[in-house]
Symmetry: C2
């Protein structure tokens, strides 16, 4: 089942990304489509978290996923097989992030009239994706326990633009020097309004809280 749709994203030629992002957000608002931008380091568990989350909300909202990756199709196939929802793969051709225009290229291939929520899984990278507004209504990021609780100190911009920080791989906490309270404190330092939600995507523990946060945000935005 390797036949997911693959979109080769072209480099943006427009120069004002903030304006493009605002326009895209307004377009999506008119069409009633909520866009969530999900970011993280490589290997923090974005795809597994998405699968668990989607399976909890897909009876309440119509979800579609865009998987951005430099090259492979692994994630889009995985998502579709595990959730049954529409999932397309965006190839960035080596580019390290998506901006609003690139996001729009992806959205052109999603059946938006049948969709309430599009989740964009951004390129695995804590630096560049933070610099470009994709047009999303909300930004989420996943930090996994093995990466360490000091990451908000080292990647300040990423943490300051995220509305929610999901702490994944809580099951391996005993094997790592990860201090959850320190992590919360460092996140607050960057962004006092960001929510912190500890989960274990492998077992599903805590994912309900993230799913609830997401449904609540969609609800707030619609009304």
């Amino acid at each position: 089942m390797d036949d997911v749709k693959v979109i080769e994203i072209k480099k943006s030629i427009f120069e004002d990304n903030d304006r493009d992002a605002d326009n895209l957000r307004a377009d999506l608002k008119r069409r009633g489509v909520f866009l969530l931008n999900l970011m993280s380091s490589p290997g923090s568990g974005k795809t597994t978290t998405l699968i668990q989350t989607i399976n909890r909300i897909k009876d309440q909202v119509r979800v579609a996923v865009m998987e951005a990756d430099i090259d492979s199709n692994v994630d889009a196939v995985k998502i579709r097989e595990a959730t049954g929802i529409p999932s397309i793969q965006l190839h960035t051709g080596g580019m390290c992030h998506l901006d609003a225009e690139m996001t729009r290229q992806g959205l052109d291939n999603v059946p938006l009239e049948d969709t309430d929520l599009v989740i964009l899984e951004n390129v695995g990278n804590l630096v560049c994706p933070a610099e470009f507004d994709t047009g999303a209504v909300k930004n989420a990021m996943i930090l996994s326990v093995p990466e360490g609780h000091d990451k908000p100190l080292k990647y300040p911009l990423m943490f300051s633009i995220c509305d929610v920080v999901v702490i994944n791989k809580m099951d391996v906490l005993p094997y790592f020097d990860f201090d959850l309270e320190k992590c919360r404190e460092y996140v607050r330092l960057r962004n006092p309004k960001a929510q912190v939600i500890p989960i274990c995507a492998k077992t599903g523990e805590g994912v309900d809280a993230f799913a609830q946060w997401l449904l609540q945000e969609i609800n707030n935005w619609k009304n």
Copy 2:
């Protein structure tokens, strides 16, 4: 002991990075200084690996470290406290990688006449640093077990330009679905010549092999 030297790196104004990198390599060759470029995702254990490695080789070669980071000084302080060797912090001001000209700005602050080996700890990112030759003689990268064995499939360029791939956090192998043989196979796919060295930087296990690889490379390059 927070008084490490901090260099604010400026964006390069030169356009031909490959030429700059070749020139820098030639300069360093004349001065007898070996430059190693060390890359990885955020939180894979670069700094801990460096400390363990440096403590094994510092009696045989004179080492200096340049820690590139977007913002904090945590790593340079840690390296100096744990090894006693000269260590400076390069602030990239949000930039996601170092190129050859930026590396040279850092090297201008290292006492090269008293140094055999400079290790550049690049920004934690598997995408952008792979695209810019820093002028290093060799490229090394660290992949940690929690990130997953599929990373060579998802970040092909990074794995294709590295001379050695260190697999860190081998102590937590029982708690993750990480297949070392598959990882070796995927690395070979990207780069048949790359060495794969499993280690645990926390306990020091396997670090001897990486230290030996490095000393051997310095020796080959000098003769």
